[in-house]
């Protein structure tokens, strides 16, 4: 027994360096930094403040939703409806304000819609045992259709009395010239990171993803927490929708189409494991950043935009490849 114990202790005494280098998120950060350095030298337009402003702002919408998605993925679930929910929430905001209501009412209506959608997803999944894939696939179709119904499939670009306030909310730069969406993203990321690391709720989320059965037998309120996670995911889509509306100044019924895949890609590139139990808020941001840097750089380097999917797909597979190699090495 003593030798086994010593061996175990020895194995556990990873140096600081090995534990860092075996981390998928670390390598994604390195990839982002290297790409940025390369682009600064290779192109003249990358390291301009205008381009960096664009990149950071573009990252935010995917990143904010990826934060909520990360929670869902940690519990072992998936939420395919976020793109459509973003559209629906934007449209509810737009239609409400267009009808002459204030910004506050519009935001409340929009977030209320997100909560209802999240509750619907979550209750079906947690209490009725639906597979998350199926429920949220249904919601993907349902939410976008409702957005079309709400707006009669028109573009809304008049937001009533608080029109300018909404545009400033999403399009302004209130602090040190940093785009407002970036500030929201940072605040939400800090909040998510804090919740995951320090709260009971966060601990329970990880426990459910790590071993749902054991969590139930240990008295973790598994079902309420699963519902909460889908509500948070829908809320993050709603928040992103509100900010995006303010930034774009218009809402169409095809915004956010296909966005769910970018969001899932960001979370997975950032280290979230679709099998559950693993994921971080920082990873979600970094994953979203890598996708945006790839997109931006292809444009700047003059590479045909059709290649974009190839590079992003490659990044997903490469990021997870690191993780697989580490797992294979451990199991041998």
């Amino acid at each position: 027994m003593t030798t086994t114990l010593d061996q175990t202790i020895e194995q556990k005494q990873h140096t600081w360096l090995t534990s860092i280098t075996s981390n998928q998120t670390f390598w994604v950060v390195i990839a982002v930094i290297l790409a940025c350095i390369f682009l600064s030298f290779a192109t003249e337009s990358f390291a301009t403040s205008k381009n960096l402003y664009n990149i950071t702002r573009n990252v935010t919408f995917v990143a904010i939703i990826a934060l909520g998605m990360t929670l869902v993925i940690i519990t072992g679930g998936i939420d395919l409806s976020v793109g459509s929910v973003l559209c629906l929430c934007s449209m509810v905001l737009a239609v409400t304000m267009n009808a002459g209501y204030s910004l506050e009412i519009g935001i409340l209506a929009s977030l209320g819609t997100a909560i209802i959608v999240g509750l619907f997803n979550g209750i079906l999944i947690a209490y009725l045992g639906f597979p998350p894939f199926v429920v949220t696939l249904g919601m993907l179709s349902l939410a976008r259709s409702l957005a079309m119904v709400a707006s009669n499939n028109t573009v809304v670009f008049q937001f009533g009395p608080d029109h300018d306030l909404l545009l400033a909310l999403g399009g302004g730069a209130w602090l040190f010239g940093i785009a407002n969406p970036v500030l929201y993203m940072i605040a939400l990321a800090l909040l998510t990171g804090f919740v995951l690391r320090w709260t009971r709720f966060g601990r329970h989320v990880f426990a459910i993803g790590g071993n749902e059965h054991a969590a139930t037998l240990t008295g973790v309120p598994v079902r309420p927490i699963k519902v909460a996670v889908y509500v948070i995911s829908a809320l993050s889509a709603g928040i992103a929708g509100i900010i995006q509306t303010g930034w774009l100044g218009a809402v169409t019924t095809n915004i956010g189409a296909g966005m769910e895949l970018q969001v899932i890609a960001a979370a997975v590139i950032g280290g979230a494991n679709l099998a559950g139990g693993v994921g971080t808020a920082f990873g979600a941001l970094v994953g979203a950043a890598l996708i945006e840097v790839i997109r931006n750089s292809l444009g700047l380097l003059g590479i045909n935009a059709f290649w974009q999917g190839t590079f992003i797909g490659g990044a997903i597979i490469l990021a997870v490849l690191f993780d697989r190699i580490r797992n294979l090495r451990q199991s041998q």
Binding site: M1, T3, T4, L5, Q7, T8, I9, Q11, K12, W198, T199, R200, F201, G202, R203, H204, F206, A207, G210, N211, H213, A214, A215, T216, L217, T218, G219, V220, P221, G277, V278
Partner: protein
């Protein structure tokens, strides 16, 4: 005893030998040269010697009983035979060829087939498709479609040979466990198996289904197919085995010829030490009833009910065969499954339990059979696992306080002697015994009134077992009522203050400590009432 196998042979009259060159009598077959030899096989896992220097040879038409306690190394040996696991040392000789290790494909090619305890069938397909999965007869040509008629023509004689009462087109989903077993055996026969390994094949069968299976084994034997029969049911081993190999702690501790195969001899070899040496007497007489079950019914046996009183300060062993309804009873008490009826009282108060949280809230805890699947979040650290059941105790304003969590984990680590470098270590890297202690620590940090242990020491090495028994006794002495479900006879007899035995969903008897004997427990477990008057009286009294 001698008459039983003879009867088996008679029944097999209709069976045609597989090939002409093997047209020998069963007796000749048993003495033929072995086609499979395991030579000095050893298997070491990190920190555990699962097998050492095991020798085993199998001759055509031989039925070998393989017995041993849980954790004796039977399943490791079978995994090696099936090519699932490579041995650390030793050689496998098949016919003349020697292998250091086999792949699953090698094993199949050598004619080794398994009938697993958990049957590996595709529920959504029919019988014929299951038997020939991956080897379906085809029409050939461009599309090369499956020839269903030929498939059925191949499967029908196999089923008839096994005396099956279902056809090739029957969906597997509607078959009983015994019928599914026949499908597995048909699959083995269709592969021209020379050796069929059956792992606890009778554990879920009724008496008549068991008799039918023993007939099938005799048929196989007559056709020169060898069988390795792994079972805890020693009577059946006695009935069908030509010889018996006894494993204990990874070593072969006994080889019994046909004439030597006796129940007591096997038990002695399996256990290898005095049964009662484990017992730690309680410090005080038991207190009043803590957990009172009144006519509790579970979905597993809807027509039976359990009435049982568990006293504070006692360890009540719950014995019975696999499938007797013990785990289902525990699950119903703990609120995992809905119970069909009856009342559960905890310290005189009626318990309304809809889910495990309710039970936990009242001080009724379950330590599940399967630590990895149900007991622990393996990716969590020791400290995180311990605090998970009771996070509010370590949290202020919903924020988990790492200090409080670590402090408690350190206390539990010292108290339970959990051997781990730090409480921040992930539980996935711990040994079985230490994992079990972490599960225990989780509940001991709260205030237990009743703890149900389901197979508390399964897969745990002997040293850690003793420590867990000491902890159970210390808990009981502190007034906690302990219900210990165990299939390990040594454990049930060695640790319990009383034993309740279940058979097919009901309590078939209760034994006090002075009447403990393996024989009595087994009698009750197979549903017979005890012949001895004093035991009978007490069984009724419980």
């Amino acid at each position: 005893m001698e008459g039983e196998p003879a009867r088996c042979y008679d029944r097999a009259g209709f069976i045609a030998p597989r090939t002409d060159d093997r047209h020998m009598s069963a007796l000749q077959a048993a003495s033929a040269a072995p086609f499979l030899d395991l030579i000095d096989i050893g298997k070491t896992y990190p920190g555990v010697v699962a097998l050492s220097a095991v020798n085993l040879s199998v001759a055509p038409g031989e039925v070998i009983g393989l017995v041993g306690e849980n954790g004796a190394g039977k399943s490791t040996l079978m995994k090696i035979l099936g090519g699932v696991t490579a041995p650390s040392e030793g050689t496998i000789r098949i016919d003349a060829a020697e292998h250091a290790a086999m792949s699953v494909k090698d094993a199949t090619k050598a004619g080794i087939a398994f009938v697993h305890q958990e049957l590996n069938l595709f529920d959504n397909l029919d019988v014929a498709a299951n038997v020939f999965i991956g080897r379906e007869p085809r029409f050939g040509g461009l599309l090369n479609l499956i020839d269903t008629r030929a498939l059925h023509e191949k499967v029908t004689p196999l089923l008839r040979r096994l005396g099956a009462d279902f056809g090739p087109a029957t969906p597997v989903a509607i078959l009983s466990l015994a019928q599914r077993q026949l499908v597995e055996i048909a699959k083995a026969l269709s592969l021209d198996a020379r050796l069929v390994i059956m792992d606890e094949p009778t554990s879920s069968l009724t008496a008549s289904e068991t008799a039918r299976l023993l007939d099938v084994i005799a048929d196989l034997k007559k056709n020169h197919v060898s069988v390795i029969f792994i079972s805890h049911r020693l009577q059946e081993v006695e009935r069908c085995a030509d010889r018996v190999i006894v494993l204990r702690d990874g070593k072969v501790v006994g080889r019994l010829d046909r004439a030597q195969i006796q129940h007591d001899a096997m038990i002695r070899l399996m256990i290898g030490r005095d049964l009662k040496s484990l017992y730690i007497p309680p410090a005080a007489p038991p207190r009043e009833v803590a957990l009172d079950l009144a006519e509790v019914r579970t979905a597993a046996f809807p027509s039976q009910s359990v009435t049982l009183g568990l006293r504070g300060g006692e360890i009540l062993g719950l014995a019975g065969l696999v499938g007797s309804g013990r785990t289902e009873l525990a699950r119903a008490i703990f609120g995992i499954d809905r119970r069909l009826g009856g009342q559960i009282k905890l310290l005189g108060q009626v318990l309304e339990i809809a889910e495990p949280r309710n039970a936990i809230h009242r001080g009724l805890y379950l330590i599940p059979e399967d630590r990895k699947q149900s007991g622990l979040v393996l990716d969590f650290s020791v400290a995180e696992n311990i605090s998970l059941a009771n996070l509010p105790a370590y949290a202020r304003a919903s924020l988990v306080q790492d200090n409080a969590e670590t402090r408690n984990a350190e206390q539990q680590k010292a108290k339970l002697k959990i051997k781990v470098p730090s409480v921040a270590t992930r539980t996935s890297s711990l040994s079985g015994g230490n994992q079990q202690k972490v599960v225990l620590a989780k509940w001991l940090s709260m205030s237990p009134k009743v703890i149900i242990f389901d197979e508390p020491t399964r897969g745990i090495d002997v040293g850690a077992k003793g420590e867990i028994y000491e902890l159970m006794r210390a808990l009981a002495d502190a007034g906690v009522a302990i219900l210990m479900i165990s299939s390990d006879m040594e454990e049930v007899i060695g640790v319990s203050d009383r034993i309740a035995v279940m058979h097919e969903g009901r309590i078939s008897g209760i034994l006090e400590r002075n009447e403990f004997s393996e024989d009595r427990v087994l009698q009750l477990a197979i549903g017979k009432s005890l012949r001895e008057p004093p035991a009978m009286k007490l069984a009724m009294g419980g």
